[in-house]
Amino acid sequence: MKKLYFIIIVITLFILSGCWNYSDVNKMRFVAGVAIDYDESKDKYIVTSEVVKLLEGGQRFGSALFQSRGETVFDAVRDTIMKNARKLYWGHTKVIILSKDVTGKRLVPILDYISRDGEFRDNVWILISDEDTANEIFENTFENRDEITSFHIDDTLKNEKNISTYHAIPAWRFIGTTYDKGASPTLPMVIVAEKDGIKVPKVRGQAIIKGSNLVGTLDETETKIYLWIINELEGGVLTVKTEVSDRPIEVTLELFANKTRIKPIKSGDEIVIKINIESDFGIGEISGEVNVIEKKAREVLKRDTEAEIKKQMENVIKKVQKEYKSDIFGFGIKIKDKMPEKWRQIEPYWDEVFKDLETEINVNVNIRGSALTLEPIKIED
């Protein structure tokens, strides 16, 4: 009897558990990216999937687009499978592009589908199309479909560190931030641009989402400052206009390292957000014959750089506070961490509080080096 039980247990181990979904790779189609639009007139979602396709010759990959409509996203996806005849595989989907009108109530079911579905990765990138519709991004780029737009966007987003004009947000973080009361999520925006006669997708700027509604956008320079404040900036260049010995000069500085600390402090009854920025720069380019590396000039350069950064930051913070009224910097989370008592009081009115929140920005710039040459190049007449 004991033996019988043992055998039954072993058999159930095999039958009732494990992976059952045997399917060969060539029997499935890999979806590289999805664009989701909303058809106002018919009240339907339009799902455009970019599917990887082997090009003629069997050596390179291109893509094919499939569009389908449905009451819900899931419904539309089912429809795509029917059109494809093969199983669609979402495990390697890199990007989800949303059109601007797929926000608010229309956004929630999409997020639900992404996080609920077993095949979608949690780190799929979510982007907002800055064109009229989302499917334009697929349809109007690489028009002979010999490149995969989604993979192109994926590569761009992974290179954020070197470009810093957008902030890539994976689905898990976006969904996580949406839940959070003390912060508003942002999403990078993508447009169709032209490069060497080929239309390519270009990611630039950041869209600000508040309560799943699109409330505003940041342009490229604002996005960089935004990244600076939230301590996500890892590189990039900054051009500073300065004046050394009464001669105006433009110096391009290269950011080596940056550390931003946001700290809420109490001043009387009010909360002041203290932003301490510690940046290491190297001199990348000097446009002029003035020696800025010499000690005095360096002091001037340092002072001017700090002022420049501070000015830009204040502008961005003010714009976000006044125009968009959404806490994309996560100040609320910081207050919640540091002053939980205070947070409980202000939480219900956080939007109002945020609007008039005072900030104090301290910038400390270190100029670490001047690359390979000490002297500026002087042209003798």
Partner: protein, 517 residues
């Protein structure tokens, strides 16, 4: 269980009346004795009866019985027949029995024995000794004059090395014993003979170092050998299969080698060697799992190089058992675990291939095994044809014709090559690989992990002559792992392996077993 089955089968076939051995006896008459031997060797034309007599006027008649081809004719002529024919008993004036005079004074041979038992005489005669019958005696002299041809001592083709002694065993047991003795010049090195095979009467030698080898293991070996009932022992594999632990396991619990240096090293660690006449493959026991990965060269090269090689061998074991299984699991169940570009190229390579991945994998592995087996079986001149056909047809044309996909060819090749890094284990590897592959085809990585767990439970539960098969694998003690995945330098290997060499633990010492004497 197997004993019951065996008895059932044997019960039907065993003849009730065993042939009763005839009561052969020598008498004091030479002619009668010759007649007896002629009767025994009836219908055997290789047997020679050479009759001659001494120089005396009333000579002693003798007859030398031997088998043509088994004896050294020069010894027979020069050292046996010539002295006897030239000898005169009367001249020597010795008052002793003629047979003693023959034994002590006339015959020039390193081993002369006086025997009465016909069976003993016969078995020695069949092994190349000569029987000298004398008129008037009911006993005979057994003269050692073995002289058959053996293969020279060559480098074993199954275990080639770069550095180290190149000599290997051959088929003659005495040559093999001398090869071992030459490595360990010590009186504690013991050789105990016994005989196995009711028909072949094969000589078997149990070899060990007294004071080092565990007495229990020696007793156990003898006990198991006692239990063997078999008509013939033509190779050490017979013995291995008959006495090994876990008889159904694909893994072997008894090692075999063709190299005397390996046998000597094993003996010095306290192991026991079984040398079987007629085969160059010597058995060593107990045999642990890790020994699959140890090569004799590891101990001759520098320890760093040796350790690297050993880790590579262990890695090859992993590759050889798991690559097809993991490939099938990943491509058919866990596509999300493959990096996107790789997945795309796999799917492109599989485009148009008619079979599912698992069928492809099984087919390619079968093809590889066929190639491997033909490579061994084939006469040498045809060998290159096979590798050519195998590489070209299976490798290239099959892919071009889209019968199989290129990745599976790579997987098979990798598996196959890794196979040969642990050559002793090939048989076990095939079984393990197939089980892993089928499990992962049904259940994905989940099934593969099932297989791995199963394999480890199996290995961990095995023993070889009382020693745990996976001894030291889980240990953290430096002295335990000194000779496992890495080979530490000789100056750290103070101790002999645990449990096997427990009788005299210390390997490197000034007052050790051998220095005292």
């Amino acid at each position: 269980m197997f004993r019951i089955i065996r008895d059932k089968i044997l019960g039907k076939h065993r003849k009730k009346a065993v042939v009763t051995a005839e009561d052969w006896k020598l008498v004091k008459n030479l002619d009668e004795n010759i007649k007896l031997f002629r009767e025994i060797f009836n219908n055997d034309d290789t047997i020679r009866f050479r009759e001659f007599e001494t120089k005396d006027s009333s000579p002693v008649k003798c007859c030398l019985v031997f088998i043509d081809g088994m004896v050294n004719k020069e010894i027979v002529n020069e050292n046996i027949i010539k002295p006897i024919v030239n000898f005169s008993l009367k001249d020597s004036n010795i008052n002793r029995k003629a047979i003693d005079i023959f034994k002590d004074k006339i015959i020039i041979s390193s081993a002369v024995k006086e025997k009465k038992d016909v069976y003993e005489l016969l078995s020695s005669c069949l092994y190349g000794d000569a029987i000298l019958l004398l008129d008037g005696f009911d006993s005979a002299l057994l003269l050692d004059c073995k002289g058959w041809n053996t293969r020279a001592i060559e480098e074993p083709s199954s275990e080639t090395i770069v550095r180290g002694p190149k000599e290997g065993f051959n088929e003659a047991i005495m040559t093999n014993l001398t090869l071992i003795r030459r490595k360990i010049r010590n009186t504690d090195l013991k050789f105990r003979f016994r005989q196995l095979g009711t028909c072949t009467k094969t000589k078997i030698c149990i070899c060990y170092i007294e004071g080092l080898a565990s007495q229990e293991i020696i007793t156990e070996v003898n006990r198991r050998l006692d239990d063997i009932e078999i008509d013939a022992v033509l190779e050490s594999g017979y013995i291995e299969e008959l006495i090994k632990d876990s008889p159904l396991s694909p893994f072997t619990t008894i090692g075999n080698t063709e190299r005397p240096d390996i046998v000597a090293a094993n003996l010095l660690e306290g192991r026991v060697a079984l040398i079987i006449d007629g085969t160059p493959h010597v058995l060593t026991l107990p045999h642990l799992f890790i020994e699959y990965f140890q090569a004799n060269e590891d101990y001759y090269h520098g320890f760093i190089y040796a350790s690297i090689n050993r880790i590579i061998r262990i890695f090859a074991f992993f590759l050889s058992t798991s690559v097809p299984a993991i490939y099938v699991a990943l491509t058919t169940f866990h596509q999300e675990m493959i990096p996107t570009p790789l997945l795309l190229s796999i799917s492109a390579a599989r485009e148009g291939v008619p079979f599912p991945t698992i069928v492809e994998a099984l087919f390619m592995l079968l093809a590889f095994e066929i190639l491997r087996e033909t490579g061994i079986r084939l006469p040498k001149p045809a060998g290159s044809t096979i590798s050519f056909v195998g590489a070209l047809i299976l490798g290239q044309s099959a892919v071009e014709a889209r019968f199989v996909s290129a990745p599976i060819v790579i997987v098979t090749a990798l598996t196959g090559i890794s196979n040969f890094l642990v050559p002793q284990m090939i048989g076990a590897l095939i079984v393990v690989r197939l089980i892993f592959l089928l499990l992962s085809a049904f259940l994905g990585l989940y099934g593969y992990i099932f297989g791995v767990i199963g394999l480890f439970i199996h290995l961990m539960s095995m023993r070889s002559f009382g020693i745990p098969y996976m001894l030291n694998i889980g240990s953290l003690d430096m002295q335990d792992i000194k000779d496992t995945a890495i080979r530490v330098p000789w100056w750290i290997m103070y101790l002999r392996p645990k449990l096997i060499g427990d009788n005299n633990k210390v390997r490197q010492t000034n007052d050790g077993l051998y220095e005292k004497r």
